[in-house]
Symmetry: C2
């Protein structure tokens, strides 16, 4: 039996792909924004500064396929679509939020050390 510890290190393990989606440039930010509650497309686009429509759309699609969030589209005019984390999504997002919290709390320290490097 292969050691299980390093599955994401294996090129072909499906965990690699899911991890890449979760930790992608915009995936990370989508997850922590959705951790604060259900959001609409344009709402997220405004909150996540710098994301293009294309990449937000693509990122949401990936995370939906991975079962991290659900898309709910109302048949109204004008259209209304919103996104909500699943149970799995909440758990993953919390882990990501911990990393972000740590980073923001230690940012000054880190930047100071960068300075002196």
């Amino acid at each position: 039996m292969k050691e299980l510890q390093g599955r994401v290190l294996s090129k072909n393990c499906p965990s690699r792909e899911i991890l890449n989606h979760l930790t992608s440039r915009w995936g990370v930010l989508v997850m922590i924004v959705l951790l604060t509650g259900t959001k609409r497309f344009s709402e997220m686009r405004r909150e996540i500064e710098g994301v293009s429509e294309r990449m937000l759309s693509e990122t949401l699609k990936q995370l939906e396929q991975d079962g991290m969030l659900v898309r709910h589209s109302y048949n109204t005019v004008p259209p209304h679509t919103d996104y909500t984390l699943t149970a799995h999504g909440v758990q993953a997002a919390e882990k990501i939020q911990h990393l972000v919290d740590w980073l923001e709390n230690n940012l000054n320290d880190i930047l100071l050390q960068k300075q002196s490097a």
Copy 2:
């Protein structure tokens, strides 16, 4: 005073760049591999399946500049260079490891739900 919660959401906050390095495709894997101890370049290249020399080199350089790891080069023939996490690096890597642990523990569940989607 601007709400501090959303700093990584701001386009120009330096935390955004550091977060991108930490959560980059290869940055994540470099961090969790180094969490198991000091490693040589070629050692990491073998452990992280699929990484190119170029990207490993670049990723290590970024993380070094962010103060997450230190590079030690011995003037020997053949050359010998190794990489070790800093105190900050260990803390960040632990947060990343938590996410990876969660993912690997729930992978079957997640894949099953993907199936039925």
